[in-house]
Symmetry: C2
Subunit: 379 residues, 2 copies
């Protein structure tokens, strides 16, 4: 090879590495990162398919995200089987020119995915301490060729860089799960004195809000945020005395106005947060009893002055309140409750939110059924 | 240059890049990452000093971590001044052979740090959308040389890779702040009915616990976790009725045993969490009223059977309780409270925790003074 050709080739790899590193920029969520890495590496090493499998020790399996249309249906494989299992167990790469002649290969995966594997190259993803936590796999070298030693070297290097990003994303994901979980516990804590079906209620509020928010046309991120923040809508109830909160008979006028203060207490507890999720929850807590026609509380806000998330949760909250039994009322059916809500567009509720509610009617009915099938009174 | 020399040089840069990418492995916290990046790049480009400045839009400044012994004293510069300010404003690199001849250079920084800057090379750190969020700066090329165009190219590439890692770490840090904040709000929510100096009390518990945990010889991470989790120790009080929780007179035997259930309620609220911080908080909530001699509640655990974090928070909680005024007692002074605690080693408290308390006496006194100087009754 001529001098310039060699230099060009090494220089090209160098530039490729620079671009590869930059592509990972700001991708902290695990699934998008795994998909991005698989795509990039597939292109770079010239494979027909590429996937990253991660070890789930607790479940004794390896999984990888598989995007199929809108739904993410992951592929799960039992740990310790097949070629990938071999890579995990040995902590070393494999390269097989004809997989159907290799006894370690599990043809069931091909039957499952409908993809015909010809040759495979797979390298371990190792964490800082050298433990294998995943496998980077490339299938079927393009143009009918075999993967060679240079391809393997390249995959090793890319896997080394990818491992760092994947590990960071895993830590980010764990922390995010912790954050969401803490918000859920915060919601449960606030309703701890009110021993009725709290957990089921909070879960429903989240699910109903998510479905309506999606029908409203919000982005995936906004929908996820509303689902997570909505269970905090009644957090201000911690500020209400037992004598009012736990009273079974009808409330006096004074007691009613005390009870209504839970909206302002909620704002007091949650506002001025640095966390975007808590700030959203503060808006919801403060304004989920406002009415579109301005006759709600605590501020009598009207129409578009009410934050959108609060307009959405207002509907979710009423749906849940109507469909459960209380000391002072029977449980309404889903159709009856839905009719009430559809009828209140422009009065109690934002007509646009009611339209979103109508669009989400089928999944809402499904969520309502699941909630009803769970035993009430559990928390 | 001979063919092999050129190939070697490009190959070397390639390998350097691979190693650089791998070094970042699993470093998700911002400060350690900035320090690591600065060290690596200093070595690679052959500079005497290297630092990463980040833009803080809210404070209109640039800051960089400066490690000086144990204390991290960051360096802050007003935005829009000096060479670095120029890099931020222009979004472009600068390279200056003799800074004292460049009017953009601010000699005050040298006077502040005691470092004599000769030449500078600085490139912007840009986020995904191309916005400059920081500056990567190298000072004084080694052996009295100047930075050349190749050095600048190298710094650009390293800054490109570093930017991705720094942005991820920033997002991680923001999420972590949100998580810690949510835990604090959870603690405040739980004590919302008990309107006395809650915020001050929770802050003190955290600070006292941190100081004692440090004296106990726990790692920085463990100390940080205990500081964060300890304010949740009384979260189970949400399960106590107003009639008992808010009673001003002495409690009857039945009321006392009801009140003591706050430890088990706390466990119920926090246990089985995925979040390591909440799991730690669950242990603390359940066991912070156990006594070293086994005469505590709710389980009558003895000595080493009591989780270490609970043994530490037990002392912090008593210190705070003694030093504030209550309906039934005057506020004790710091010395008097400390004597009580030192005297209870082996009885109420773990002698090792009491020894840690003794070692931390001076900073504890300081924290107590600060707590006293804040107005009580605020929440």
């Amino acid at each position: 090879m001529a001098r310039t050709a060699v230099v060009d080739r090494v220089e090209k790899r160098y530039q490729m590495l620079v671009r590869f590193g930059q592509k990972l920029h700001g991708v902290v969520r695990l699934r998008p990162l795994l998909t991005l890495l698989a795509d990039e590496v597939r292109r770079i090493v010239g494979a027909a398919r590429c996937s990253i499998f991660l070890v789930d020790e607790a479940r004794r399996e390896l999984w990888t995200p598989v995007a199929q249309g809108l739904d993410a249906r992951d592929l799960h494989l039992p740990l310790g089987q097949g070629l990938i299992g071999h890579v995990v167990a040995a902590g070393a790469a494999v390269r097989v020119a004809d997989v159907y002649r290799d006894p370690r290969f599990n043809p069931a995966v091909d039957r499952h995915t409908g993809f015909k594997t010809r040759n495979v190259m797979a390298v371990p993803l190792k964490d800082r301490s050298g433990r294998t936590f995943g496998v980077f796999q490339a299938l079927n070298k393009r143009q009918g060729l075999d993967f060679d030693a240079e391809d393997e070297g390249l995959l090793r290097i890319l896997a080394g860089l990818a491992a760092a990003a994947v590990e960071s994303a895993r830590l980010y994901e764990e922390l995010r799960d912790s954050h969401v979980e803490t918000i859920q516990r915060l919601a449960r804590t606030a309703e701890y004195r009110d021993a009725k079906d709290t957990a089921a209620h909070l879960r429903s509020i989240g699910r109903y809000s998510r479905l309506i928010a999606r029908g409203f046309g919000l982005s995936d991120g906004e929908v996820e945020s509303i689902e997570c923040a909505s269970p905090l809508h009644d957090i201000g109830k911690v500020g209400i005395r037992d004598a009012v909160l736990l009273k079974t008979g009808p409330l006096t006028a004074a007691e009613t106005s005390e009870m209504r203060r839970h909206t302002s207490f909620g704002w007091e507890i949650l506002s001025e947060a640095k966390s975007p999720l808590l700030r959203l929850a503060a808006e919801i807590a403060w304004a989920h009893h406002e009415r579109f026609d301005g006759r709600g509380y605590p501020r009598g806000l009207k129409g578009g002055k009410i934050p959108p998330a609060a307009r959405i949760v207002a509907v979710a909250d009423v749906l849940d309140a109507l469909t459960v039994e209380r000391a002072y009322k029977r449980a309404w059916g889903f159709e009856e409750s839905a009719r009430y809500i559809l009828n209140e567009g422009g009065r109690q509720f934002d007509p646009k939110v009611v339209a979103a509610f109508r669009r989400a009617l089928e999944p809402l009915r499904q969520a309502w059924k699941e909630r009803r099938s769970r035993a009430p009174g559990s928390r």
